[in-house]
Amino acid sequence: MNAGANAGANVGAKVGANVGAKVGVRGGLLQRAWTVYTKELMDALRDRRTLLVVLLSSVALGPLLLVLISQLVAGVEKRAEARVIVVQGIEHAPSLRNYLERQTYTIRTAPAGFEQQLRDSKLGDPVLVVPPSFQAELARGEVPVVELLSSSGNQRAQGAANRVLRLLRGFNQEQATLRLAVRGVAPAALEAMQVDERDLADPGSRAAQLSTMVPFLVMMAVLYGALNAALDTTAGERERGSLEPLLMNPAPRWALVLGKWGAVASVAMLIAVLSCLSFLPGQWVVRSETVAALFQFGLHEALWFIALLIPLAGALSAVLMAIAIRCKSFKEAQANATVVILGVSLLPLVTLLNQEGTAAWHLWVPALAQSTLMGRVLKGEALASADVVLTAAVCAVLTVLALAYVARTLHSAALK
């Protein structure tokens, strides 16, 4: 560039006191890149309607998700606390009624047409059907048969069925113990061992089951945040016919590419920060202690999320630009960008489908690595700094490769 300035100065003498010499090709790559960056950012921020939709959806994401989770949890809690059992024909079984009432259960008579209601998921409790001959058979020492109706398509009823089964087993055991006691056998003879249930999963990992979708949703927010700006600054510029004039400026093409990428990545990173932080006020809005216990997402977790997402936001921006620069129109670019959207939405599924847990290669794949590590953050596990550095480095390499492709393609793209 210096040689160019010299030649310019030589000729400048001939042309006279020309602005050309004063303007020259001074100013480095970074200054030009900054010029492009500020212009592109201003352009993106003026696209109010698109920006508003993206911002609102990313900011609303946290509170909305928390409300959904809390409703789910509240429903489960309500049914567990209510201690209700729905029975048909309880009048045939006074001893069972006695047992249930001693367990402080409220007995409710099954509504008419309960089978259909169970099938349609309208009834949230399984139904116990007691035959008319129950009490007589029990008295004769025969084994009466009761039916517990639920539907595997009805998740609420299916979940409560286990609770009812356990309750009925308690009745069986009591009856058996009484009969043995009458014959002078110690209850311990019947029970070789006693089983106590204990759930070893701590609240943190139970929360992870519930909130596995959080990393996925946050990544999608970042992707959609980058999408519009990335396409507008490449394919959009081509479609408007403003890419060719832009290349006729004496600015190094890396300055143009870096400036454009910087603006796109800034928007994507802003979305990343906003959507992660939106979970914090979201937790104040949702005042459920169970949710608070299940979903522990404090400032610490939010900062880890942001640290993991920022390199990904940069890489996704660059990849989207590389895909869009080949496209003649915004529409064509949108169609092509679907590949990236599909990739980012499907990759996290690998962890679900893979029964063997996290494999080493998962951390080498962008999006999959981030969702894996964010999952660990949610479970309350400590992240190894080597893993974090590795995922960031993979994103950085991907960014550089994609931007190099954009820089190489820029000229030929402008002319077609």
Partner: protein, 266 residues
């Protein structure tokens, strides 16, 4: 001053067995002097746009040299671009930016300070009569307004050399006249070297001091309008241009086509 010698460019079209090489520009040579408007006149597909794209360092030539004020475009494209203002066929503006922001952006890319670019933008607005446009967003500009903004954008760094590719395309009479007037001012008062491509002879006849006729990628004639008229022995410039730019066969084929069309119409 722009000096072009023996400029050549080939494109390959298609792939595999259907591939063929098209010689878009074939040893084009001409010199455009300072203080002079040089018209590049040729039919559609003659290689005008390709030539100007090579001058603007957008395409690498396969052969020949381009020198802008003595700077070789191939080896020092950025230094050459700093001395050129190019209004290409593509005149896209950023729709969400005002005309002034569009113009000043290019000034900044040329390394000007914001203050200098703004001051220059004001003087260009005065010259091109576009004051009312400056603070409006480019969204919804008419063709004429768009052209003015794009021209101001190309001239923001006060380049000694100005290149315009079919600048009157899509402009109405008034806008065309305004552009012509602006180009005369740039030539007479600022001593610019202006290269202007067109396929419309009236434009070239009205405006250009020197005409370079290009056809089939070659320079077929050079000179002033009277010189070209004298050379072809025609009184009308359109006739002279047709004589120079097209082969006898092409002229015959065009006439036969016209006859056939007239026959069908009858």
């Amino acid at each position: 001053m722009i000096d072009i010698s023996q400029l050549s460019k080939r494109f390959s079209q298609g792939r595999g067995r259907k591939a063929r090489v098209v010689q878009a520009v074939d040893e084009v040579s001409f010199t455009a002097a300072d203080g002079c408007i040089t018209g590049l006149l040729g039919p559609n597909g003659a290689g005008k746009t390709t030539t100007l794209r090579m001058v603007a360092a957008l395409l690498p030539p396969d052969g020949g040299h381009i020198r802008v004020d003595g700077i070789d475009v191939a080896t020092q494209p950025q230094a050459a671009l700093a001395r050129m203002g190019v209004l290409s066929d593509a005149r896209g503006l950023s729709p969400r930016l005002t005309a002034r922001e569009n113009i000043v952006y290019y000034g900044r890319l040329h390394g000007m300070t914001r203050a200098a670019a703004n001051a220059r933008c004001d003087s260009l607005a005065a010259m091109l009569d576009m004051w009312p446009l400056l603070e409006r967003r480019a969204e919804g500009f008419s063709q004429g307004e768009r052209m003015k903004t794009a021209l101001a954008r190309a001239l923001i760094h006060d380049p000694p050399n100005i290149i315009l590719d079919e600048p009157t395309n899509g402009l109405d009479v008034l806008a065309t006249r305004a552009l012509r007037q602006a180009l005369r001012v740039l030539r007479d008062e600022h001593g610019k070297c202006i290269v202007f491509s067109s396929h419309i002879m009236q434009e070239v006849e009205r405006l250009c001091d020197q005409v370079v006729v290009v056809s089939h990628g070659r320079t077929v004639a050079r000179g002033t309008v009277p010189e070209l008229l004298a050379r072809t022995g025609q009184a009308d410039f359109e006739e002279a241009f047709v004589d120079l730019a097209f082969t006898r066969q092409e002229r015959g084929a065009a006439l036969a086509n016209a006859g056939a069309v007239a026959g069908v119409a009858r």
